[in-house]
Symmetry: C2
Subunit: 492 residues, 2 copies
């Protein structure tokens, strides 16, 4: 089974694509740049959604839903935002198809059904939402508005990769409105913390929390906060962003509120989002040449039980015991599958569940029944052990936590090992080619230098970490003075 | 507060729109025919989703996600389906905007970014899904496929109404693939039962389960099953459909499987869906001139506690007691809100929660604290009662079930009262104008007569009920012989 996946060493990119397709997470579709999220992949996304949704509600947010389409005139209103997304917008221009005259079964766009105003398929929803908030906000009593939306968005990307960059993707976008700058900034930072918490404690991915440089900011934001993760190949992946939008959208859509003294003020805004891109981060952080490695908290199947038997009689005995185990696991809310399908041998099944990243595999044979034992295999360490049947469910319950922790620690150690302090441009370029990772380097603080480094090395400033220590130094590129190191990397 | 809603007697249609908007369920957007689902409305939809999703999973289904866009050539493949939806398709023709030369901040569609093949925004997903299933299905071992998708779809309707008919709406669409006709038919009927169960036991809406006439079938289906509900104004509303698609899509997309003997056969299909339309059914079934009446199982807030106090000291005493109650309710998973906002008088709050349809209102005053009592008001019957504080939580818990049941019974009685056996065309037309409802009448079984009745009376055949009793009679329109009555109504 593992032969079907290209090894990482051979071609990391191909490994990733093979893995996503063969493990049944997603597939390319017949629509350029769009993917099909298959049931196994969607089950992981659903788990992510449930956890995040709970976190959003615990921090006071509610869900709502806004239109998929944005009329062009609204889309234009916040100029920077519009400019940032204009080049990748899918545009609806007509609202009807008609038969091609003389060609039965063939359809064409009906030229008489041209829209007076074109509709942009939302690449992000600030415009349509702030145009709506205008009607919701009159006074300070209407604030804050703490709304989240689960939705699909479309950005017409030229080069696409499953989960990482697709023309259509699924995401959540929070859009909040506040009476003061301070409150909006507090919200922006709060949601960054929520994302970091989710990444570290559920995805098991260590992240750097930081601020984007103006070059890398969300179009229309005054400040973009982000979490950045490092993949196994040394490339960075932006795993979530939280934007302080200032009064930009309030001004573009004329959204004012009367404060306690009746004075009209523009409203302050934030927006924040994570997407199905997180699936890519999850896969690339932990998996190996045999398949996925899923953290137990996000694994659709946490435990698989596989019977090892000769005849039907043997299978029936094992079934009896296995069904009892299944019930015990379910009582503990542990998701378990007993795979007694008789069209595949145990070895094939072992490989299949390794490919699918199931954290714990139990194998139960006829001899085990006699001996009161069971074989347990961990997906993360590949360790195998014969254990007493008595107490196995409690053992697995604890083990799932251990595995969750271990997967995180492996990723954390790797990220630390692949984080370098670099003091010369030569070394910087050499590392990027030979041992890529997070490069902590001095930068003179100008967009021009940032741009030059990007052009010359394809590395970008991923972020300026929060609470970054001040340190005197010289820009690796221009030699000009610098007060802090920033995080460079090549990125997805 | 109730003054803001037009009474039903005066203008039912306006009542509905007022109610949806004022109670904070949804609002019109700046995008033609598209609505904004506001947090309170979305909270109800979320409850519906959770319950349905659980029901789908309990019947063996898993979720997945397919592209929003369907290339025109795929859309055309199943001819009847394409023909049925062609006239209401939003079409993406370009993938980029550019600046209007000389007009800063103005954008236009970039004529150089025209798509080679236009993309239809999905009005339903059979085409894209069966084009995908082609790759998933080789042998009988790959069947059945039991997949559901939660998604947005777009149908360019000319006349729109909040929730009932909008250009974009949210729904779920199940798409299953089977080895035999029998199995597919069984699935079609199973999901109809799931929908009927959901309608009656959660929405508290009685429904007639039946089969559509060929005229009213889903485009591309061999048979459409439906549940039909009757609204307070005597108009019918189709609340869910389950389609037996035969081998139509398998043939259109060439999806075959090898059976146990290695023989290639076309795959059998079903699809089934319910949408945010159910919100409209829920609202119109139960609500009154004072606002929404929500069945407890779908109410985002099941119990509201309102303090009646004079000064801050009084409020603090009430708060103490109320907070204890809140904790007790939460322990029982009853959703409760203690509204101690001091910017509105109790009378205003009473009206507001009536408008929002909260099933149980508790009012707690200083005198109640002294007497060990609390005032309870039911939204469904408007009854008010002073009750002992001791045991109030248990009382409310039981009462919520009683209210759920009562709301259903009221709707059921009304539906029965508004269901008529009609034997002459004169009476049929008179009833439609004066006392509309479900009209059980004989029909000669021809599409021509069905069409004629529709043109002359605007009534359609809602369905032929399942297990319909056979009865000799004469078609109300043509006088030709008929073997059964069918259900006619004017419909949403």
């Amino acid at each position: 089974m593992s032969k079907v996946i290209t090894p990482r060493e051979e071609d990391y990119s191909k490994w990733y694509n093979d893995l996503v397709v063969r493990s049944g997470l997603a597939d390319h579709s017949s629509v350029r740049g769009c993917m099909v999220i298959k049931p196994y992949g969607y089950a992981i996304w659903e788990k992510m959604q449930q956890i995040l949704d709970r976190m959003f509600k615990d921090t006071g947010h509610v869900n709502a839903y806004f239109p998929l389409f944005i009329p062009k005139s609204l889309f234009e209103a916040e100029e920077k935002n519009a400019e940032g997304f204009a080049k990748e917008c899918a545009v609806v221009t007509h609202y009807r198809l008609k038969n091609v005259p003389g060609e039965k079964g063939k359809l064409m766009v009906d030229p008489e059904a041209k829209l007076e105003e074109e509709l942009v398929v939302r690449p992000t929803s600030e415009a349509i939402i702030w145009n709506t908030y205008k009607n919701w906000i009159q006074s300070y009593r209407d604030l804050p508005i703490l709304v989240n939306q689960w939705a699909n968005v479309v950005r017409w990307e030229m080069r696409t990769r499953l989960f990482l960059r697709t023309a259509e993707f699924l995401w959540q976008e929070g859009h909040t409105a506040h009476a003061t700058r301070e409150e909006a900034m507090e919200e922006t930072r709060r949601m960054l913390e929520v994302y970091a918490d989710f990444a570290e404690n559920y995805l098991a991915i260590p992240v750097i929390k930081g601020i984007k440089t103006p070059n890398e900011r969300f179009a229309g934001a005054d400040e973009t906060f982000c979490i950045e993760a490092l993949m196994q190949d040394g490339k960075a992946l932006q795993a979530g962003t939280s934007h302080f939008l200032g009064q930009n959208f309030a001004k573009a859509f004329d959204v004012k509120f009367a404060d306690k003294d009746g004075k009209l003020e523009y409203v302050w805004a934030t927006s924040w989002g994570v997407s199905t891109r997180l699936m890519g981060a999850l896969i690339m952080s932990h998996s190996d040449d045999d398949g996925l490695v899923l953290p137990p908290r996000l694994a659709p199947i946490q435990v698989v039980i596989i019977p090892i038997y000769k005849g039907l009689e043997g299978l029936n005995k094992i079934r009896e015991k296995a069904n009892l185990l299944v019930q015990e696991f379910k009582k503990k809310n542990i998701s378990v599958k007993f795979d007694d399908a008789d069209n595949a041998r145990p070895g094939y099944k072992f490989a299949e569940y390794e490919l699918k990243g199931v954290p714990v595999r139990l194998a139960l044979g006829e001899r085990d029944l006699e001996n009161g034992t069971i074989e347990l295999a961990r997906r993360d360490t590949k360790e195998k052990q014969s254990l007493p049947m008595v107490g196995i469910v409690e053992h697995v319950e604890k083990l799932l936590d251990v595995i969750q922790q271990n997967i995180y620690l492996i990723a954390k150690n790797r990220t630390e090992r692949m984080t370098y302090r670099v003091d010369s441009y030569e070394e910087f370029k050499k590392l990027l080619d030979e041992k890529p990772g997070f490069l902590l380097a001095h930068w003179d603080g100008t967009p021009e230098t940032e741009e030059r480094i990007k052009e010359e090395t394809k590395a970008t400033i991923r972020c300026i970490p929060l609470n970054n220590p001040k340190e005197e130094g010289k820009c690796i590129c221009t030699g000009k003075p610098s007060t802090q190191r920033v995080v460079f990397a090549r990125a997805y």
